[in-house]
Symmetry: C5
Subunit: 152 residues, 5 copies
C-alpha cells in the first residue's frame, strides 16, 4: 500500500510530519510519497498526479488563513479535491486546519497534531481495513478535538 | 435491486440504521451494500464506486455541524454528489440533517429518523415504482418534518 | 418534437400542469414525457437521462423553500442543471419559483402559473421557432411577473 | 473569422446591437451568427453549440437583475461560461451589465454601450490581432467606464 | 523548460514583468511564452491552450477590483484555473493581487512585486527542483508580504 502526503509551504504547522510518524510507527510496511506545493489551491492537481500514479490514497494538508479571501481559497481547493477524487476514483483525505481554529499557537499545534494523526489512521483503514471505519459509523468522531459521541 | 448506504463517522445519529430497517421490512428482496467514510466530503467518491459497480441507487447520509465551515463542507459535498450522479447517470439520495435542525437531541433524533425513513421509501420507489413518486408530485412532501401540502 | 417535464414532490404548486396545458393546447403534436423526483437536487440527473434519450429539451420545475439551506440547495441544483446541458448539448429550461417570491398563497400560485406558462412557450420556440425568441431579444421579458420593457 | 453573439430576452438593453455595429463598421469581413435565449443561465449551452460549430469566439450578453437571486443566477451562468470555454478550447467574452450598475436608465444604457463596444473590439483582436491586447496589458482597461490606468 | 505568463488588460500593475525579470535573471535557459486577455475570467482557457501546448507550467496574473462583483469574478476564475489544472495534469500558479490589498498605490505595487517574484521562483522550482519546495514545507511562506514562520 502506498499513501501520498501533500502539504504546502504556506502552512505554519508541519502536519505531514504527524501523519508520517503515525503511519510509520503503526504500519511500517505502508509506503509514503511526499510532495510540497505553495498553497492549498495547488493541492488538487498534485494529488491527481499521485493518484494517477500508484498511490492508493492521498492526504492533503493545508492551513487556510484568517481572512475572507483565505476562506474562499480553502473552498476552491476543497471543490478541486472532490473533483479530483471523482476523476481518479480514489479517496483524498483533506486535512485542513484553519489558522483561526486555535485559541493560541499551542492550541493550534494541538489541533493540527490531533487531526493529522487521526486522519492518518482513517487513511490507512479506508484502504486496508474499511470494516474498522464501519464500526465507528455515526459515533460523532472528530479530528482535531475530542469526539462528541452518538445521540440515541 | 441493490441500494448502497454510505454514512460517516462524523454523524452523531445512526441514520443508515433507520433506512436499513425500513427497506428490509418492506422490501426484503432489495439488497443492501453499506460503507462508512470519515466525513461528508468523502461521500461523493465512495458513492461513485458503488454506482460504478452494481448499485442501482445510493443513499448518502451526513450530519453537517453548526459552524460556517461545516455549512461550507456540506455545500461542497452536495456539489460533489450531484456531479457524481451526472457522471454515473444514476441517482444519489442525499440524506443530510444539519446538527442545528433539532431543537434538542431528542428532536434531532426524530428529524433523522423521519428523513431517513421517508427517503428510503423514495430511493426504492425511484427504481422500482417511479409512478408512486409521480402521484406525490408537487404535494409539498417533506422529509424530516410533516408535509406542507399543495397550494391550489 | 419531444419535451421532458420533470418536477418534484417537494414543490407546493403543480407547475408542470400549467406547462402541460399550454403545450397541449397550442402545440398538440409535441410529445411530453413526465417524471417526478423528491427535490431540486435530484433534477439534474433525471433531466440528463431524458436528454440522453430522445427529448429535445427539458423543463425542470422546482420550488425552493425560504431558509438559507433551501437557497443553497437551489444553487447546487442550478449548477447541476447547467452542467447537464453542457454534457448533453441540449437546453434545460429551469422553472424555479422560490416559496418566498409570493406575498401570499394566491400570489405564489399566480407567479407559478405565469412562469410555467411563459417558459413552456420558450421551450417550444427554442426548438421549433428560434426566430421568435430573437424578436423578443433584450425586451426585458419576465416569467412570473409582467415584462419590464426595453430601455433605449 | 466568425463571431457568435448570444443574448437574452431578459435583458433590458440591446447590447448585441452595439457589438454588431462596432464589428460591421470596423471589420466588415467578420461573419456574425446571432442567437437569443431566455436568460443568462441559458447562455452556456447555446454558446457551446456555436463553438462546437465554426464560431471562433462568442460574445455572451446578459443583464442580471438587482435581487440576490439574480446575482446568484449570474454567478452560475459565469461558472457555466468558463466551463464551456474549457470544454471547447475557445474564448467566450462575457458581457454582463448588472441592472444596478447604472445610476439611472440613461447611465445604464451608456455603460452597456461602452462595455459591448469595447468588448467587441477585444473579441476581434483576441482572434485576429492578439498582439494588440498584449500592448494594453496591465493598463487598468475598463469596459463600461473609463480606464483606470497603470500604477507604476 | 517553458513557462507561460498570462495576464490581463484589466490589472493596474504589470506583474508579469516582475516574473519575467526574475526568471530571465536566474534561469536564463527557461523559455517564456506571454499572452494577454481582457480579465481574470478569460484566464482559464488561455492557460489551458498553453498547457495543451508545450508549456510545463503557467503563471496566471490578475488584479480583482474592490467591489463584491469583482470578488465573485476572482472566485469564478480561480475555480476555472483549478479545473484547468485537473484537465491538463499540469500546475498553474495563480498570482492574484486584490486591488484592496494595498494601503495605497505604492504599497499595492510592492505587494505585486513581492508576490510575482516569489511565485516565479515557485513556478520554476516546481518543475526543475521540487525538493527546494519540500525544504520550505510548512514554514508559513507568504507571497506578497513577509513570511510568518513555523509554529512548533
Amino acid at each position: 500500500m502506498k499513501i501520498g502526503l501533500v502539504d504546502t509551504t504556506f502552512a505554519r504547522v508541519d502536519m505531514a510530519s504527524f501523519a508520517r510518524r503515525e503511519i510509520q510507527f503503526n504500519w511500517p510496511n505502508v509506503q509514503l510519497v511526499e510532495r510540497t506545493v505553495p498553497g492549498v489551491k495547488d493541492l488538487p492537481v498534485e494529488c491527481k498526479k499521485l493518484l494517477d500514479g500508484d498511490c492508493d490514497i492521498v492526504m492533503a494538508f493545508g492551513m487556510p488563513g484568517k481572512e475572507p479571501v483565505d476562506k474562499m481559497c480553502a473552498h476552491e481547493a476543497s471543490q478541486g479535491l472532490i473533483h479530483t477524487q471523482l476523476m481518479t476514483n480514489k479517496h483524498i483525505i483533506e486535512v485542513f486546519v484553519h489558522e483561526d481554529e486555535g485559541k493560541n499557537d499551542a492550541d493550534l499545534l494541538e489541533v493540527c497534531k490531533n487531526r493529522a494523526t487521526k486522519h492518518a489512521r482513517n487513511a490507512v483503514e479506508m484502504i486496508l481495513k474499511p470494516e474498522a471505519l464501519k464500526k465507528r459509523a455515526a459515533t460523532g468522531a472528530r479530528q482535531g478535538r475530542a469526539d462528541t459521541g452518538r445521540i440515541s
